[in-house]
């Protein structure tokens, strides 16, 4: 009996076309940017020192306001590229910035236009596009998240099509008056030892301000066994917190760190906002173990710019006051001498 074998073929591809090497090749060239690139060209002057405002659109607008920002799209390949440009929505959930699928309704997408909506680039060329975001007068207060996308057309072939797109994030705060203040607290520090034996500190970070935060920072250990200190160890990045959310920020340490107890000093920041806390931690001996969380206390930052400015201003004020008093005394003395 003839065995009928029906093949369930997923993806008919052209046999001769370059099926991308499934074998990992040499590490990619570090210096060149490949494919389709996008970057922000304009940033607000009053956020000049905020590192987040250099790579994302971060702004606060009153209802009825409009902002315009330019982006630059680049073709880093040796052939021509076409890209469609548009704004899509995004959400922040579980500590991650999650862009929405194309076509998902979003307020930010409705309020935005990108001109031109499509660019054709020759090899190694760039083109600028203008993104205009107009906030309606009836917009509710709060934050909106989105991405300015540069999207490649689908790959060719009669089977699997791939669409790659790359974008610049938008964190837009809407509300009358000034920007809501940003702030966060570290609710607890927990020392654990991972299944692979690496000690880790997990900090529960609570966004108590009015704007989303992208957390980064480092942890230092001091006053350890025999007076040892260690670190700083960088915190794992990628935690984005919406206002009101609490999410963990983890700091992996080194296997050379033994139990403790240690005084852990955690310094976290988002953009220009920085906070530091200290707590006593002891790491469990066995892999997979976790110590109970401890409540840390807030400590002042070293080289706090505000403190230095305040001290400098106070001292200058006192000095000028002293000089004026001396001048006044001189003048009175001369008045008395005349009389």
């Amino acid at each position: 009996m003839r065995i009928r074998r029906l093949l369930l073929t997923l993806l008919l591809g052209t046999l001769t076309s370059g099926v991308p090497g499934a074998v990992a090749s040499a590490p990619p060239h570090a210096a060149q940017a490949a494919g389709l690139g996008i970057r922000l060209l304009d940033a607000p002057t009053d956020r000049r020192t905020d590192p987040r405002a250099q790579i994302y659109i971060v702004d606060h607008l009153a209802p009825g306001a409009t902002i315009r920002r330019r982006v630059q799209v680049s073709d880093n390949t040796s052939g021509p590229l076409t890209a469609s440009l548009y704004v899509g929505g995004a959400t922040i959930a579980g500590g991650t910035f999650s862009p929405a699928a194309k076509g998902t309704p979003s307020e930010l997408a409705e309020w935005s236009t990108v001109a031109p909506a499509s660019v054709s680039l020759a090899a190694r060329k760039t083109a600028n596009a203008l993104v205009t975001i107009t906030v309606p007068r009836t917009a509710a207060a709060g934050e909106r998240y989105g991405v300015i996308w540069a999207e490649l057309p689908p790959s060719k072939g009669s089977g699997v099509q791939e669409v790659n797109r790359v974008g610049v994030r938008i964190y837009l705060s809407i509300g009358p008056g000034g920007e809501p203040a940003s702030d966060f607290t570290v609710d607890s520090l927990q020392a654990i030892r991972r299944a692979d034996g690496l000690p880790e500190v997990i900090a529960q970070v609570h966004n108590t301000g009015g704007r989303a935060l992208d957390m980064s920072g480092s942890l230092s250990l001091s006053h350890g066994p025999a007076g040892l200190s260690a670190g700083p160890f960088p915190a794992t990045l990628g935690t984005t917190l919406v206002a009101g959310q609490t999410e963990p920020v983890t700091v992996p340490l080194s296997k050379a760190i033994n139990g403790g107890p240690w005084t852990a000093r955690l310094e976290l920041r988002s953009g220009l906002l920085r906070r530091a806390v200290e707590g006593l931690v002891t790491f469990p001996d066995h892999a997979g173990g976790a110590s109970p969380p401890v409540k840390p206390k807030a400590v002042p930052l070293y080289q706090d710019k505000n403190t230095v400015t305040f001290v400098a201003v106070t001292m200058l004020s006192l000095l000028s006051l002293l000089l004026l008093l001396v001048a006044l005394r001189e003048w009175l003395r001369r008045q008395r001498a005349k009389a």
Binding site: P27, I55, P99, K102, W149, S155, N164, D214, S317
Partner: protein
Amino acid sequence: MRKILIGGAVIAIAVAVAQPASAGTTGATFTLSGNSSGLAVSVPADGVNLGSAATGASTLSGSLGTVQVTDTRGSLIAAWTATVSSTSFVTGTATTNETVANALISYSSGTATKGTGQVGAMTPSVGVTLGAPAIAGIWAGTGNNTVSWNPTLSFTLLPSQVAGTYAGTITHSVA
């Protein structure tokens, strides 16, 4: 005496001016310099073939092809998130048995390779289902980075899956 008075007044004025400006002008922008291209994603290759299976098979897996992300923003805190989403894969007239729903498709990024000397790591994705957009990988590090990975797609097939060539679209979003 006059010199002391002037000295005191000058310092008093300097103190008044030295106060940090409380509110900048909104709307004023400056241009970011630098000739980097920001964040870039590779152009996918044409004609990807995920393979084939006999009818009655319960799963099918294949490699999608390398995705490469190049970040030349030079940020102290360099981070980007790659998200992946998929349509359903259909053949013929897309009836129930001619469809593999996107919730039955799972994506694993596999280990990512980064350029030599680059600081950071990509958290990979393992077996995430594509019923809704999912995280393909999250990069965290410092400075420029070039990261590539070759993801594997796994399809869970129905016992009644109809034979044919199935087509669909996988979208990678990097921001």
